[in-house]
Every structure is written in structure tokens, then in C-alpha cells.
Symmetry: C2
Subunit: 184 residues, 2 copies
DNA sequence: GCACAAGTAGAACAATCGCTCTACATCGTC
DNA sequence: GACGATGTAGAGCGATTGTTCTACTTGTGC
């Protein structure tokens, strides 16, 4: 079952969600059509199984054994995401890709939101930026989405943004004209 | 022709790139199948025509008549992108969606890169952040990608990041540990 | 040694796909 | 008012799709 999920995930990651046929997915999963349909009774389910597998692997890769210090954790976070991009996908976020390929599927949307909110929660906790969760998430999204174009420079850029965000966080109100940290 | 392109664009924007059949696209374009195939001899071409149309409309909406001052331009930029997201898509970048749906299509990839690099060029020019083009682009990507989840708060978050980026830009080296502004 | 669950390989199904083609209507121009 | 260009409506084509089903093989527990 885990092998099936892994195969499905890598197939969708490599070729997108629209292109691969069920027979392609069968090859990727390394089982027969019958067994594949036993665990994933429809193509939609294959997509969801792949995404759930990806979710677990992503959280493991990015958040396990992060440095304790907030500053070090922030740097390590971007480093790990950059490494993930390099190793795993080379194009943007797989969850966004899945929803983009099928915008009417509400189950996919729910999966995307659950994934993002868990990432946001963990990232904010590890870096001490709970008051700037949205901005932190945006840097992460920016890194993920711009990585295919900028490669390693995207990681550096995200570190810069993270440092600027932290520096603006500490002293007091971020930007008095629009809001105060305690309100967001 | 412009009406066809507009129809195609809105069809792909609303329903993604995988789902709509050519007959759906014909309905969206408001012409017969024959005329549609005259201007777009294959479904792939329909996708490209839609993206080119979107490219022009996006640049018009976001960059025309921006305020002259760098700071005002930066704020206006995020405001306009937020407004664009609200009006046009409600989910992420259409170019990324197109490439994600069909990762092997190199023509699509080229279109994506041309779009992004022109956005980066114009944004950096208008805001005076040419030395931080990558970071600026990442904030834009972060705003675009996180807008569906955070709505108006995404715009505010991007403004915060933009302000932090500008503040870090002016005084001198950004982060001596990793790089200096003059090198990136 | 045999029954049974669980696997494989792949034929078969209706539906749908992208695309082509035919037949007919509507123009502006001489 | 005839003409050619350009449009519409939609039937038809072969290929491919997601899904189901049949027939056969394998491993495990009693």
C-alpha cells in the first residue's frame, strides 16, 4: 500500500495530474490494474492517495529535527525547502498543481488547505513568528513557486526575506500605517 | 480573434487546463468549431492563445499608470495584484497552472518564463528594487499563491514584506553572512 | 495437500476525446 | 443579384480514456 502511494506520488509529481493515464499509474505503482483499483477505486482517489503520501513526506523532510533556536530554525527551514525542491519536484507545489488541474474538486481543495495550514502552524511554531504567520507562509510559497526559475538563488532570497521579516518583527509595531502585530 | 482569446482565457481560468473539452472551449469562445480551429489549429494552441491574452491583460492591469514614487509604486503594485486575484481567478497563477497541468510541454514553460521575467523587470523598475529582484518576485509569487487562502490579508502581508525588504535595502549590505546587494 | 485470499496479465466495455468534414447561411463587393 | 470569403451547425472518425471482468498464478494456514 505504501509502495503504491509512493509510486502514484512520483508519477503525478513527474508528469502532472492531467497527463498520466490509469495504465501509466499502474506501471508507476508497480502492481496490476486490479490491485490498484482495490486500494484506489477511482482515478480521483489515486490523486488523493498520492497527495496524502506527499503531505507526510513533506512534513517529515522539512520539520523533523529542526534546530531549537528561532533564527537557526528559520534558516534551516528555507534550506530544507530548497533541498526538497531540488530533489523532489523541480516545479512548484504539488497540492496547488492538483487543485489547479481540477478546480471544481472540493475534496482536493480541502486537502490543499489542510496541508498549508499544517505547514503554517509548524513553521510559525519553530521560528517564533506566530505573529507573522501569513508573511512567513508567503515567503515559503514564494520560495516554492520561484525555485524552478531561480534555483539556489531562491533559497538565498527567501533567507533574506526571512531575516528582514524577523528584524521587523522584534522591535515593535511592524507598520503603523496598516496594522499592528498584535492584531494580525 | 480577440473575443476568441478572451473566451478561451476565461474558460481555462475558471475550469483549469485539464477539464474543458474542445467543445466546451468552443462554447466559451462563442464561435463554431470550424472557426475555432481556424485560429487555433489544436487544443495546445488554444492554451497558448489564452495565456498570451492573459499576459497582456495582466501587464496592463498591474503596471499601467503606477505612481511615480518608488514607495507608492510598491504599495500600489501589491494592491493591484490583490485586486486582480479577487476579480480574475480566485486561485493561483494561471501560467503556473498551465505548466503544472502539462510539465513536458516546453513551449508552455517558455511562455511561463517570458511572463515572469517581464513581470520581474517591470516590478523592479517601478519600485527601484532592481538589486532585490528575486526577493521582490518571491513576494509577488507569495501573494499570488497565498491569496486564495488569506484573501485581503494576503495583500496586507505582502505590503509588510515589501516594506521590510525596502527598509533592509536602503542602509547597505543586506546580510553580510550570505551575500551583498551589489552581487545579486 | 488443499482451500482461500490476494496477486498478475490483459481482454473488453461504453464513453469521451481531439479533430475533420459536409452541408447550409450570411455577408460585403462588384 | 451573383460571387467568393467567412461564418454556423453538427455528424462522423479513429484513438484513447477510466473502469470492469475473466482467467490464471502464487503464497499461507490448517
Amino acid at each position: 500500500m505504501a509502495r503504491i502511494a509512493a509510486g502514484l506520488e512520483s508519477a503525478f509529481a513527474r508528469r502532472g495530474f492531467a497527463v498520466p493515464s490509469v495504465e501509466d499509474l499502474r506501471d508507476a505503482a508497480g502492481v496490476s490494474l486490479r490491485t490498484l483499483y482495490k486500494y484506489a477505486p477511482s482515478r480521483d482517489r489515486m490523486v488523493r492517495i498520492a497527495l496524502e503520501h506527499r503531505h507526510r513526506r513533506y512534513l517529515d523532510h522539512v520539520f523533523s529535527d529542526l534546530p531549537m533556536g528561532h533564527e537557526a530554525a528559520l534558516d534551516a527551514l528555507f534550506e530544507r525547502i530548497g533541498l526538497w525542491m531540488e530533489r523532489e519536484t523541480s516545479h512548484g507545489c504539488l497540492f496547488h498543481a492538483a487543485v489547479a488541474a481540477n478546480p471544481d474538486d472540493n475534496e482536493l481543495k480541502a486537502l490543499l488547505e489542510r496541508h498549508k495550514s499544517e505547514v503554517a502552524e509548524r513553521a510559525a511554531g519553530a521560528t517564533g513568528l506566530s505573529g507573522r504567520k501569513i508573511e512567513l507562509m508567503q515567503v515559503i510559497e514564494g520560495l516554492t513557486q520561484s525555485w524552478p526559475l531561480y534555483r539556489e538563488r531562491a533559497t538565498t532570497g527567501a533567507r533574506h526575506l526571512g531575516a528582514a521579516l524577523r528584524r521587523a518583527e522584534v522591535p515593535g509595531p511592524f507598520d503603523a500605517r496598516t496594522s499592528s502585530p498584535s492584531l494580525t
